[in-house]
């Protein structure tokens, strides 16, 4: 039984997280929206709806927390794919950082190469070959065919 109690404690925290994050979002919204001019009911200011929405989100978040705490037998949180999360995020972040500095071709190459690493079976040589081919096609599609106004390389 002791084992079970331990698990329950952990899952209580887990269940709190879902609505809790939403509650924080609602409260943060209210914090900022509180300063906006509300106006009157027939001449609403820009703050009226944001405040209403902030209150609504917070109320719904509390309701979700209550429901989650009362129904302990709900399915568990989906399995986290850390590898996918980290490498896909890194690929997009690298693209965002590099595209203005280094141009489209290097940032495309790195974005492809890094995102391939999200796959458990990724191996260095095929990754490099694949990234090179994908970059070549990307260059042909975006810069040659569509003529997007993005520099190909750093200047």
């Amino acid at each position: 039984m002791a084992e079970f109690d331990d698990q329950t404690d952990q899952s209580t925290v887990n269940r709190l997280v879902r609505g809790g994050v939403l509650l924080i979002a609602g409260l943060v919204m209210l914090f900022f929206a509180w300063g906006y001019p509300t106006g009157t009911i027939n001449q609403m200011g820009p703050g009226f709806i944001p405040q209403t929405v902030g209150v609504l989100i917070s109320v719904l978040a509390v309701a979700i927390i209550v429901i989650d705490l009362r129904n302990p037998e709900q399915e568990d949180v989906g399995q986290m794919h850390w590898r996918g999360l980290i490498f896909i995020s890194a690929a997009i972040a690298i693209f965002a950082i590099l595209v203005d500095v280094a141009g489209l071709v290097p940032s495309m190459f790195l974005a492809v190469a890094v995102s391939i690493c999200a796959d458990d079976d990724a191996r260095p040589i095929p990754t490099l070959i694949y990234a090179s081919i994908a970059t070549l096609f990307g260059w042909l599609l975006f810069l040659v065919a569509l003529g997007l106004p993005i520099p190909a390389f750093w200047r």
Binding site: P46, P50, I88, S89, A96, L146
Partner: protein
């Protein structure tokens, strides 16, 4: 009505427009075939492309992807038991057993033909309903619009799968995200944490993050069983026998009617329509024991239903400018980004766009029927492409697409943020689709609500004294009541089950 439809046809049959219509349905079918890439992902991916096209062709392109994916979705369901789209989940039930007993060709043909009939019925109802709906919609004032949006948002959160309160919270979250940027009436900056946010959050970033990036994160490191089928289809086993064909008439008709009805309602869409049609067919059938073992009527009814629904879904979108689900919200968003405000004025002011889009559905369904069976070898080949070879390219397309839209690095970073958000949301059982609906409809709601209050001096009774608005209020109250009733009765049921 026929005149307008012919006007539409004349728009679609221009060679350049026809190419985009073909490209749209082809791409849609391809996307539907590929498991793991849905219509909503594909449409978000192509949003930036539409800025280089005019409004009519971008609408035709995006809509083609949507209903084309309904055709394609059945292919992976039948051959591999993998639903390519949510609405083809029931197609697996009858289609896969047929494929296992070496009747894949027959199943594919029946699915394609039922889809075609369903789609055509949907288009016909859309054509018939367009003018009356627009006449009603032209009577809509600010209070009606505000109430219609509320009804649509409630319906989307109450009827969909999953917890109602969670979906509703996500709708409200979407409204909140839509508030970011300058207030439309006063120009006051709201939630502008960075100067780049002054124009608001880009629909492209939100859609690509929630539906593109999050799906890639989820699927990138997941193994998929490599059971790509090796099949040889000869034309002989494709065509149903006369007896089989006769048994399909009524199911297709019933499926098309159910689909047309649920497609036009706000909040329900192709997925719900296909489930309803399957359940209905089973009840009507004289041999319900055959279901689940490759029964052709059980395949035909939902297939025609989801395609009919994907066409009639355009009734509220095109005539009222109020999208019924997330895909429609994206299409409305694309129109707005192209500088066109969807609504009843659309048919009056831009008849060639309005009827051109509708006529493109007619042409598109014919194209889909024609390319479906002959290209079956190509679709089977596509099913062999592992997702691992596909997603790095999608990542780059998302990055370049978002970046090139406004040449903004902030948009790329926001896409990543929404991608991670969407991924975590799904893991914690929050659906991302209502967020998008709230995001698109939120500004419409705020604008019309504030205008109502201004016009009627802050008097809330205007919502129930105007007849159309009163009906919409009654609908919303009914939905809330239904939601409370069903959750209470569910709890009673589960209490009884546990004690």
């Amino acid at each position: 009505m026929l005149d307008q439809f012919l006007l539409g046809l004349s728009v679609v049959l221009q060679p350049t427009v026809l190419i985009y219509a073909f490209f749209g349905v082809f791409l849609g079918q391809l996307i539907g075939v590929l498991p793991g890439v849905g219509a909503i992902t594909a449409i978000s991916l192509l949003l930036p492309v539409t800025f280089y096209l005019d409004a009519t062709t971008s609408m035709i392109l995006l809509a083609g992807i949507y209903y084309g994916s309904q055709y394609g979705g059945s292919i992976a369901s039948i051959l591999m038991n993998l639903p390519g789209t949510p609405s083809s989940v029931v197609t697996c039930l009858e289609g896969y057993p047929l494929a296992q007993s070496n009747r894949a060709g027959l199943a594919l043909f029946v699915a394609a033909f039922s889809s075609f009939v369903g789609g055509m019925v949907g288009v016909a109802i859309l054509v018939l309903a367009a003018i009356p709906m627009t006449i009603i919609a032209l009577k809509f004032g600010a209070p009606e619009y505000a109430m219609l949006v509320i009804l649509g948002l409630l319906a989307a959160s109450m009827i969909g799968t999953g917890s109602q309160i969670r979906s509703f919270a996500m709708v409200v979250l979407g409204i909140a995200l839509g508030l970011v940027g300058a207030d439309a009436t006063t120009g006051y900056y709201r939630f502008v944490a960075l100067p780049e946010l002054a124009d608001g959050i880009s629909l492209v970033s939100l859609a690509m993050g929630l539906f593109g990036v999050s799906e890639i994160i989820r699927n990138a490191s997941k193994r998929r069983p490599a059971n790509a089928p090796h099949l040889s289809i000869s034309m002989r086993d494709v065509i149903p026998t006369r007896e089989q064909a006769r048994s399909l008439g009524m199911p297709i008709l019933r499926g098309s009617s159910i689909g047309s009805f649920f497609g036009a309602l706000p909040g329900t869409g192709a997925a719900i329509a296909s489930f309803m049609a399957y359940a209905m067919e089973r009840r009507f059938s004289r041999s319900p024991e055959k279901f689940g073992k490759g029964h052709l009527p059980g395949l035909a009814a939902p297939e025609s239903a989801n395609n009919a629904a994907s066409q009639t879904g355009f009734i509220p979108t095109l005539t009222l400018g109020v999208p019924g689900d997330a895909v429609m919200a994206l299409i409305v968003g694309a129109l707005i980004l192209n500088g066109i405000i969807p609504g009843p004025r659309l048919m009056v002011d831009q008849p060639d766009l309005f009827w051109g889009v509708i006529a493109s559905f007619f042409v598109g369904n014919i194209i889909l029927l024609l390319i479906n069976i002959p290209l079956i070898k190509l679709w089977v080949l596509l099913l062999r492409i592992p997702y691992q070879k596909l997603y790095p390219i999608i990542v780059v397309m998302i990055c370049v697409g978002v970046y090139s839209h406004r040449t903004s690095v902030t948009d790329v970073v926001l896409t990543l943020a929404f991608g991670i958000l969407g991924y975590l949301m799904k893991n914690y059982r929050f659906e991302p689709a209502p967020v998008l609906l709230g995001f698109v409809l939120g500004p419409l709601l705020e604008d019309n609500f504030r205008r109502t209050m201004l016009l009627y001096g802050g008097d809330f009774s205007v919502f129930v004294t105007r007849p159309i608005s009163a009906v919409l209020v009654a609908g919303s109250v009914f939905l809330i009541g239904f939601a409370i009733f069903s959750s209470v009765s569910n709890r009673n049921k589960s209490n009884r089950a546990t004690t």
